[in-house]
C-alpha cells in the first residue's frame, strides 16, 4: 500500500483526509473579541448569519479547549503579552485568524499604541479584511481556512499528522 518513499501511501492519505475533515468540521473558536470586530463576530454567531452550521457556535472561554483563535479587534501594546499567553495555552493543532484591518496590519491606527498586525506576535493563518468585516466576510475567511486545512496546505510540525 505504500507508494514511493516521499509520498504517504493511499491508506495514510485517506486517514489524513479524515483527520483534516474532523478538524475543520468542529473547529471551536477561542473568544478573543477585543473591539468593534467582536460585535460583528458575535453577530456571526447569532441566528442571522449562523456559525453553528459550521460547527463553530461554541466559543470556548478557555483557550485550552479551543482550536481557532479569532483575533477580533485592535491589539494594544498592553494586550500583546496577554494575546501571546492565550495563544501559547492553546493545544495543537491550532490556527489563528486575524479579523479586521487592525488585527491584520494595525488598521487605520498607525501609532504608538497598537501592535501593527498580530502577526508580529503570533503566526497567522488567515487574514480577513474589513473595518469591521461583516459576518459574510468572516464566514468566507473561516471557510477558506477550512478549505486550506482540508487541502493540507496548513500543517503543524509538532509531530501531529
Amino acid at each position: 500500500m505504500a507508494g514511493p518513499a516521499s509520498e504517504p501511501g493511499f491508506l495514510l492519505t485517506t486517514v489524513e483526509k479524515g483527520v483534516n475533515w474532523a478538524r475543520t468540521r468542529s473547529m471551536w473558536p477561542a473568544s478573543f473579541g477585543l473591539a468593534c470586530c467582536a460585535i460583528e463576530m458575535m453577530g456571526t454567531g447569532a441566528a442571522h448569519n449562523d456559525l453553528a452550521r459550521f460547527g463553530m457556535e461554541v466559543f470556548r472561554a478557555s483557550p485550552r479547549q479551543a482550536d481557532l483563535m479569532i483575533v477580533a479587534g485592535r491589539v494594544s501594546q498592553k494586550m500583546a503579552p496577554v494575546l501571546r499567553q492565550v495563544y501559547d495555552q492553546m493545544a495543537e493543532p491550532k490556527w489563528v485568524l486575524a479579523m479586521g484591518a487592525c488585527a491584520s496590519s494595525g488598521g487605520m491606527f498607525n501609532n504608538y499604541a497598537l501592535v501593527q498586525g498580530v502577526d508580529q506576535i503570533v503566526p497567522v493563518d488567515m487574514y480577513v479584511p474589513g473595518c469591521p468585516p461583516g459576518p459574510q466576510s468572516l464566514i468566507h475567511g473561516i471557510l477558506s481556512l477550512q478549505q486550506m486545512i482540508m487541502d493540507g496546505e496548513i500543517r503543524r510540525s509538532t509531530g501531529v499528522v
Partner: protein, 473 residues
C-alpha cells in the same frame, strides 16, 4: 442512648455533665458486655472537638445544622469580619480575556468566600491612541476616528464630534440634516440597547437572549447599511451635515423596522419581566445611589435608574430634538433591575421619536451649502471654477477651523459623550479630548460590587454596559 441518660439522670439535673455520665455508663456496659458502644472510642489527642457527637443524630427540632442545610436558618459566617483574617482573602483575576467582561476589562477581585471585599478595575488593554491620532487627521477624517471609540454607538460619537466642529465654525446645518441625524442616532440607541439586553440576558444565564437581541439588531443594521454603506463605524455624520441623503423607500424600511423591533421588545418583556430567576438576580444588585453617581460622573441610563433626571436631549437639546415628543424614563432603586426597565423603556421612546421623524421629515439639503465646509456636488465641478477650487481646497488642505476651544456633548446610550476640541487654526485639531461615559462607569464598578457576591459581579458589569473602546480610547 436516651436510656443511658434517663437511667442515671432522669430529672436532667446533670445534663451538663451528660458526656461524662454517658462515658462511664457506656464503659460499664462495655465492660459488662464486651460490646463496642459508639462514642467511647479513644480519641486521637489532636482531633478537634465537635458538638455533633459521633454519628449522633439529634432530633430535627434541635439540630441547628439541619436548619442551615435546609435553608431555614442562614449562618453568614463569611460576613463576620472579626473572625476572618485579612490574609484569608483570595485574589482572583478576571480578564482581560473573559467571556463576561464585555471587552478587555481586567478586574482584580479580593474575595472572602463568595463575597467581594475589594475590586480594582485595570484598564488600558484597548488603548488605541485615538486622541493622538485625531491630531493627525483633518476635520473631515475626524469622524472615521471617533466613530470607533464607543463602537456600539458610532453615530453618537460622530455627532458629538461634528457638533463640536460646527460650534467652532459657527455654522448651522439644514433642518433635513438635523432630522436625519436624529433618526440615525435614535436608531443607534435602539441597536445599542439591543446588544445590551442580549449580553445582559446571556450573562445572567438567559442564553437565548443573545440570539433574540441580535435578531432585532440585524434589522437595524440592514437599514444602516442601506443608508450609510456600512453596518458599523459608518463615518456618516460629518461636520456640515451628513454624508449622503436617505435612500428611496426609507420610510417603509423604517416602518418595518419599528414593527419588528417593537414586536421583539414585547417578546423580551414577556420572557424577562416576571421571570423569577431574572428578578432574583437583578433586584437589589449593583446599587448606585444618586450621590455616588454625581461623584463618579455616571450619566445616562445608569444615572436615570438611580433617580437622577438628567438627559441632554432635554436639558441641552441638539439637532432640533426638542421638537419631538418623548419621555425620559427614570428609576428609583438604582439596581440592575431598574437599569433594565429604564433601558427597555428608552428603546420604546426612541422608536417613538423615530416615528415622529418619519412623519415630519423636512425636505431640503442633507448638508450645508457652505462650500468651505462641504464639497460641491460632483457635477458642479465641471461647470464652475469656484466649485473646482473649493473641491480642491477641501480635499488637499481640509476644512479650515478658526482658533478656539469648544465642548459639546450628546446623550449616548451609555451616557454623556462629549468632545472637547482645541483648535489653533488650520485643518487639524490641536487637541481632541473625548469625554467617555464608560470610563466613569468602569471607575465606579468597585462601588457597586463591594460586599456583594461573586455571582452578582457578572450581572453588575452587564448592567453597566461598558464599551472598552470608549474607556481606553
Amino acid at each position: 442512648m436516651s436510656d443511658a441518660t434517663n437511667v442515671t439522670d432522669p430529672a436532667g439535673e446533670e445534663a451538663a455533665a451528660e458526656p461524662v455520665q454517658a462515658a462511664s455508663v457506656a464503659d460499664e456496659r462495655r465492660a459488662a458486655h464486651d460490646i463496642w458502644v459508639s462514642g467511647t472510642e479513644e480519641r486521637y489527642p489532636f482531633a478537634a472537638e465537635t458538638d455533633e457527637g459521633a454519628q449522633e443524630m439529634l432530633p430535627e427540632a434541635e439540630d441547628p445544622a439541619a436548619d442551615i442545610q435546609s435553608g431555614i436558618a442562614v449562618d453568614d459566617d463569611f460576613l463576620r469580619e472579626s473572625d476572618v483574617l485579612a490574609d484569608e482573602r483570595q485574589i482572583i483575576n478576571m480578564g482581560p480575556q473573559h467571556p463576561s467582561t464585555h471587552g478587555v476589562l481586567r478586574l482584580h477581585l479580593e474575595l472572602e468566600g463568595e463575597t467581594i471585599r475589594r475590586a480594582k478595575p485595570i484598564i488600558g488593554y484597548l488603548h488605541t491612541g485615538m486622541e493622538k491620532t485625531a491630531e493627525a487627521l483633518n476635520y473631515a477624517q475626524g469622524s472615521t476616528n471617533v466613530t470607533r471609540m464607543d463602537y456600539l454607538s458610532p453615530f453618537h460619537n460622530e455627532l458629538a464630534f461634528s457638533l463640536t466642529v460646527e460650534q467652532l465654525l459657527g455654522i448651522d446645518v439644514p433642518e433635513r440634516a438635523s432630522a436625519i441625524r436624529v433618526l440615525m442616532t435614535e436608531l443607534n440607541r435602539v441597536a445599542s440597547h439591543l446588544v445590551w439586553v442580549a449580553t445582559q440576558g446571556m450573562d445572567i444565564g438567559a442564553l437565548s437572549m443573545m440570539i433574540y437581541g441580535w435578531r432585532e439588531r440585524e434589522v437595524c443594521l440592514d437599514f444602516f447599511e442601506k443608508t450609510t454603506g456600512l453596518r458599523m463605524n459608518h463615518n456618516y455624520i460629518r461636520p456640515g451635515g451628513v454624508a449622503a441623503d436617505l435612500p428611496h423607500g426609507w420610510e417603509d424600511d423604517v416602518a418595518n423596522l419599528i414593527d419588528a423591533v417593537s414586536g421583539g421588545l414585547d417578546e423580551y418583556e414577556e420572557l424577562l419581566n416576571e421571570n423569577p430567576i431574572f428578578l432574583d438576580r437583578t433586584m437589589g444588585v449593583g446599587v448606585m445611589t444618586p450621590d455616588e453617581c454625581k461623584q463618579y460622573g455616571i450619566t445616562g441610563p445608569m444615572a436615570r435608574a438611580s433617580g437622577i433626571d438628567w438627559d441632554l436631549r432635554k436639558t441641552a437639546p441638539y439637532c432640533g430634538i426638542d421638537q419631538y415628543d418623548f419621555d425620559v424614563p427614570t428609576g428609583v432603586h438604582g439596581d440592575v433591575h431598574d437599569r433594565y426597565t429604564v433601558r427597555m423603556e428608552e428603546m420604546r421612546q426612541s422608536l417613538r421619536i423615530v416615528e415622529q421623524v418619519v412623519a415630519g421629515m423636512p425636505s431640503g439639503d442633507y448638508r450645508t451649502e457652505d462650500r468651505k465646509v462641504t464639497p460641491p456636488p460632483r457635477a458642479r465641478i465641471d461647470e464652475s471654477m469656484e466649485a473646482l477650487i473649493h473641491h480642491f481646497k477641501l480635499f488637499t488642505e481640509g476644512i479650515q477651523v478658526p482658533e478656539g476651544t469648544a465642548y459639546q456633548a450628546v446623550e449616548g446610550p451609555r451616557g454623556e459623550i462629549g468632545c472637547l476640541l482645541v483648535s489653533k487654526g488650520g485643518a487639524r485639531p490641536w487637541r481632541m479630548h473625548w469625554r467617555a461615559p464608560s470610563f466613569a462607569a468602569v471607575q465606579a464598578l468597585p462601588v457597586m460590587m463591594t460586599d456583594s457576591l461573586l455571582a452578582d459581579v457578572v450581572a453588575t458589569i452587564a448592567s453597566v454596559d461598558p464599551v472598552l473602546g470608549d474607556v481606553d480610547r
